[in-house]
Assembly symmetry: C2
Homo-oligomer: 174 residues x 2
C-alpha cells in the first residue's frame, strides 16, 4: 500500500475477525517497531508477541480497556526497563510511542487493524508474559483483521481543526 494510504487508513480497531495473522506478516509488523528510532539509539524496549488464545484472554483482564485483546488474533506487549529518573521515564515513553506508531502503520499497510490498551494490573501482566522484575509492561496492542469493515483512507478523522493545531512560524492565539 502507498504510505499515505496507510497513514490515512489507520484507525483504532477493537473488534476482530477470527482469522489468524500470517507469521510473516506478524514478524513484519514487529520489525517496524524494532526499526523505530530512540534517544541516542538506546532502544529501551522489548516486544512480547502473543498468539495463544488462553494467554490473550488472560491479558484482556489486566485493564478495563484491554477487553478487546481477548478476541484479537495477536497482541504485542511493549515492555520497558524501570528507571528511577523521571526524565528517562518520559523519554522512554516518547520512544515507545514512536515504536508503537511504526507497528500500527505496518499493520495498516497489510490491511490489519490495531488497538492499544494501557496496563493496570502490572504484576498480573508480568506473570502472564513471564516478564522479570525491573521491567514494566507499558502497553498492549491488539492485532487482527477488522470485524466491521476493511481499512480505507478517511478524509476527515475526528481531530481538532488542522488550522488550530498547526501554527505557522509563531503560535497563533485561538
Amino acid at each position: 500500500m502507498e504510505t499515505w494510504d496507510a497513514l490515512s487508513a489507520r484507525r483504532n480497531v477493537r473488534q476482530y475477525r477470527p482469522d489468524p495473522i500470517a507469521e510473516r506478516d506478524l514478524d513484519r509488523i514487529v520489525e517496524a517497531g524494532w526499526r523505530a528510532p530512540s534517544a541516542s539509539n538506546r532502544q529501551h524496549r522489548d516486544f512480547v508477541v502473543v498468539t495463544d488464545r488462553d494467554q490473550l484472554r488472560k491479558l484482556s483482564t489486566v485493564w478495563r480497556g484491554a477487553q478487546h485483546i481477548a478476541g484479537a488474533a495477536a497482541a504485542i506487549a511493549l515492555v520497558v526497563p524501570d528507571s528511577d529518573d523521571e526524565h528517562t521515564r518520559l523519554v522512554d515513553q516518547f520512544d515507545l510511542g514512536q515504536a508503537t506508531f511504526a507497528i500500527l502503520l505496518a499493520a495498516a499497510d497489510l490491511g490489519i487493524g490495531t488497538g492499544h490498551s494501557s496496563v493496570g494490573e502490572q504484576d498480573n501482566a508480568r506473570a502472564i508474559l513471564g516478564v522479570p522484575p525491573g521491567h514494566t509492561v507499558s502497553y498492549l496492542i491488539g492485532v487482527g483483521y477488522p470485524a466491521d469493515r476493511p481499512l480505507r483512507p478517511t478524509a476527515k478523522p475526528d481531530r481538532r481543526p488542522f488550522e488550530e493545531v498547526v501554527h505557522r512560524g509563531h503560535w497563533r492565539s485561538s
Copy 2:
C-alpha cells in the same frame, strides 16, 4: 512510495540540502502528525512549523543537539500543555512519540529527511516561537532533503538483534 519502503528508508538526517520543501509537502508531513492517535483522542499537542532562516538559526541554540536545525529547510516544534500529574506527562510523551513517528514517516515517503532534537532552554524556545506559558516545547524536528545521499531502504539498521528484542509468547531470558 510503498509503506514498507518508507519504514525501512527512514533514518536520522542532520545535514540538509539548501532546497526548500514545497508548502504542500510540508503540510502533508504535519498532517500525518495531526492524524496520529492519542489517549482518549485528547490530542495534547500543537505543532509550530518554522521555515524562516533567522528563526531556524535561533532555534538551533536551544539545545546542544539542535545545531542541525540551523541548516534545515524547516523545523516542526512539538508543543504539549503542562501538567502537574506524572501519569498525564508520561502518556502525553507516548502520544507525542506516536505523532512524531507519523511525521518522520510521511517525510521519508517524500524522500525528505528528518532529525529530532530535545529542547534545553525552554524559555528561549518559547520566546522564539511565541508559545505562551503553560506549554512546553518538547521536541524540534529538523526537516530537509538529505545532503549526503537519498533515502533508500536499509536491510540492517543499527539495532539490538531482532531475536533478542522480540519474545514469542513468553519473555526469553538472554
